[in-house]
Amino acid sequence: MITTETPLQRDRARTIFEKGARGRRAFVAPALDVPAVDTTELLPARLRRGERARLPEVSEPEIVRHYVGISKRNFDLDSGFYPLGSCTMKHNPRLHERVAALPGHARLHPLQDAERSQGALELMWNLQQALAEVSGLPHVSLQPSAGSHGELAGVLLTRAYHEDRGETRKKVLTPDTAHGTNPATVTMAGLEVVKLATNADGGIDLDDLRAKAGEDVACLMLTNPNTLGLFDRNIAEIAQIVHGVGATLYYDGANLNAVMGLSRPGDMGFDIVHFNLHKSFTQPHGGGGPGSGPIAVSERVAPYLPLPVVAREDAADGGEPTFSLEHDRPKSIGRLRGFHGNYGCFVRSYAYIRSLGGDGLKDASEVAVLNANYLLARLRAHSLPNGRTVADYLPLAYGELCMHEFVLSGGPMKQELKIKTLDLAKRLLDYGFHPPTVYFPLLVDEALMVEPTETETRETLDAFADAIAAILAEAAQNPEIALSAPYSTPVRRLDEVAAAKRPVIRQALD
């Protein structure tokens, strides 16, 4: 057989620092239009760099080719199904990029006077109102930069709330299904994590909760539906217990996409909720950000909200209302970052909310849950050539139905077919799918967490179910296929151990 591989394809990946040549450039400086001065007088040598930063030296076409080229080594949401559990990889409408790029938004300086940024402030106010309505909690701060930043705000708020009442509560309860950011945040906020067990239904173990809920508890952090994709039916009772001991109830909003317009954290008894605009409200994820993590809170926590908050003042004469940044909240925990939050993300998510309206948000959640349950059902029912079913190898970890996502256990698959969840995930790459989230939540053996989202077609869900079945069937024949997968990707399995042992985290230059 003739080899189809060419020297080019065998080329090792080269960074932009390994391209170009000394003296090449893309940038052309604007002309020096002021009198030439001896700038070494303006800035003495002592304060100057010795050597120039060895930035790339490349022409503009080289930059374009380089980054277009490596972009093709990414899988992305516009190229295929991305059922990454807990991440809500729903369609990113390009309308949002268009409106965010309008110079009135994109070139607006954050220190522009309020009178001359009324459009931006109104947008933020409208978004605050919308998030309050969706969460059922009246007061919103848009400041946090992402989910975990919202969590930090929330736990600091909780501290401030208790401290203001003269109480020092140190413990924060988190279920063992919690996302890693929850416990990490607690530590960063100077509090202590206490883990709560999960019951047989996949919810909070109420006995464990009762046992641990004491006067030293500051807060319970919860996701509902939780990371198993299950709605905790005991939520009212949980809230009662937590509030009973004077603690606050924190809602990790990563899973809000299951319940928009259907059930509201505020109505469930939560005091604080963070939103991930880059999940439920479709801010594109950008390969790891930007995101935005606004928080909404109840009355009692409101005085401590981080600054600034957008306020609206109605005109006395019935004219146009005016909007301003409120900085004067004496009990505020303070700022969490510069300026007013990730406004560019607000523009996108606000456009989304205006596109869908209340009914559309509800429809989105309904279809998200419908799609998840359909995919779950399709997988379950799928029979394999060896007479078994997918469910035999990949049973649902908890529950019967699910909300917007579900968690399968790869335990039986590992046992019987000798391939792990990781192998299944890697083989899915060859089938053109992004794998689900794997090995999370931790309490499920060989977990596989699948979140299809509402923007996928039935055909795509069917194709994914078929791919899972095909991989299991392959594995039943020959586990080696999955064990050595992937084959068709730009690189194959990478040596992560070596990477961590002797970290090479920048390009060496000579």
Binding site: T457, P490, L494
Partner: protein, 470 residues
């Protein structure tokens, strides 16, 4: 059917059938207790056609006066640099815009390589070997660096120069309260950190010593001297015999093109606001914070880090590495809680730095030096306006006006000029009354500076006249 969904009536029937429920309603009823169901419609405006949403968002945009609409000298942390068209083109590519964090490296080599390249560029710019792949923004990066100092040396005292941006100081205090550190502020003298007070404030209990470069008032600090003072001049010895504090510098990345690299100056951790590097103003975000440190801090750094490795066939590749620092592995023992960061903004940053290039960033710096000098002298020559300090500046400088800044700015606005930031309104500090912070980028030409001088000069004269009259 909602927007962006695809379930037809026929699909719905088949899907409900497969699930084994009669209706969507039933699917939810079986899972959510009635008590916590929302039994009314959300009170939000009705959904709209794409064109109508576009029109609405355009109308809102039209009610903002952006840097496209006026001659603006606003800065103070975010700057109206020209963003080259290739940046927009690249960050809008689906392949960069829409993926999640690269959890599956085999199909995420693009994003991972970008991180690796970004880390290299930041490392070069800061003169420090270890960069992460981005944090949220400049101020929170400073706070994260302070937390890293605490994890590193266990101490809780932070000494911070009053030259930090007010938002940085406030953010630092918020975070520090959380993780149990105290912030001691060191005043400025002649526009820069008071060297004696700095040295004195830093004691054996000091975990971190933090300054800004250039500082909030535009002045270039003597970074080497501040670092040396913080470290008591000795090798590994702190000022009063204890271990050294972690010296943290918050830098303007554009200025770093010509300023001594923090790493060359004895700084341990350099952080800063990445917006000037190819990111839009966006009314303050999203942008990114950069974070670079000496090798010894590598395993305590926050955020994602991409590392080089090989695949099973020996091919070069990149992965997220040192993940045992991170929340998803270490949970309550993680070195930070950060998860989603600012990958796309960091991409804009590295593309921008590649566009500027090794020589370009210096040329840009020199151009800014010359124009800033011209503007500073021109403005300071106007009666009623003087320099706040005479320290070297790169691209931003503070003036003291003998007039009410807010009133002067309003007059300028009427002429289509935004002369800069009203410092007191931002900092709330009484001593900042009358201070105007004027920032330049390469977009502000000599003609623009002259227009500023005319308009600002006239406004100051008018205000003073009115004040005398009153």
């Amino acid at each position: 059917m909602s927007r962006y969904t695809a379930i037809t009536a026929a699909d719905l029937d088949a899907m409900l059938d497969a699930i084994g429920v009669d209706s969507v309603r039933e699917m939810f009823d079986r899972q959510i207790p009635p008590a916590v169901r929302l039994d009314r419609a959300l009170e939000l405006p009705d959904g709209q056609a794409e064109q109508d949403v576009y029109a609405h968002l355009s109308q809102l945009a039209a009610r903002n006066t952006s840097a496209e609409d006026e001659l603006s000298f606003l800065g103070a942390g975010m700057y109206d640099h020209y963003v080259p068209a290739i940046v927009d083109m690249l960050i809008e590519r689906s392949e960069f815009l829409t993926p999640y964090t690269p959890y599956q490296p085999e199909i995420s080599q693009g994003g991972l390589q970008v991180m690796f390249e970004y880390q290299t560029a930041i490392s070069e710019l800061t003169g420090l070997p270890a960069s992460n792949a981005s944090t949220y923004d400049g101020p929170s990066a400073v706070a994260a660096a302070a937390y890293m100092a605490k994890l590193h040396n266990g101490r809780t005292r932070i000494v911070a120069s009053a030259g930090l941006h007010p938002h940085t100081m406030q953010t630092l205090r918020t975070y520090a309260h959380g993780f149990g550190m105290d912030v001691v502020e060191v005043a400025l003298r002649d526009g820069v950190t008071d060297a004696a007070a700095w040295e004195e404030a830093i004691d054996a209990e000091t975990s971190a010593a933090i300054f800004a470069q250039p500082n909030f008032y535009g002045a270039v600090e003597d970074a080497a001297a501040l670092s040396a003072a913080a470290k008591g001049g000795g090798e590994g010895d702190g000022p009063v015999g204890g271990a050294n504090p972690v010296v943290i510098c918050q830098a303007d990345p554009i200025a770093l093109g010509i300023l001594a690299a923090p790493g060359e100056c004895g700084v341990d951790v350099a952080v800063g606001e990445g917006q000037p590097l190819g990111n839009r103003l966006d009314f303050g975000g999203p942008s990114f914070g950069f974070f670079a440190a000496r090798e010894e801090y590598l395993r305590r750094m926050p955020g994602r880090i991409a590392g080089e490795t090989v695949d099973v066939d020996g091919r070069r590749g990149f992965v997220l590495t040192l993940q045992t620092r991170e929340q998803h592995i270490r949970r309550e023992k993680a070195t930070s809680n950060i998860c989603t960061a600012q990958a796309l903004n960091a991409l804009a940053g590295v593309v921008y730095l590649s566009w500027l290039g090794r020589d370009g960033i210096v040329e840009l710096g020199e151009l800014l030096l010359a124009r800033t000098h011209y503007a500073r002298e021109k403005l300071a020559a106007i009666p009623g306006i003087e320099k706040l300090h005479s320290q070297p500046v790169v691209r931003e400088f503070a003036l003291r006006l003998d007039a009410d800044v807010a009133a002067v700015r309003r007059r300028c606005a009427a002429d289509g000029v935004n002369p800069g930031v009203d410092v007191q309104a931002l900092s709330g500090r009484e001593e900042d009354r009358g201070v105007l912070l004027v920032a330049l980028t390469e977009r502000r030409s000599r003609a623009d500076i002259e227009r500023l001088a005319d308009v600002l000069g006239a406004a100051v004269v008018a205000e003073r006249r009115e004040a005398v009259a009153a």
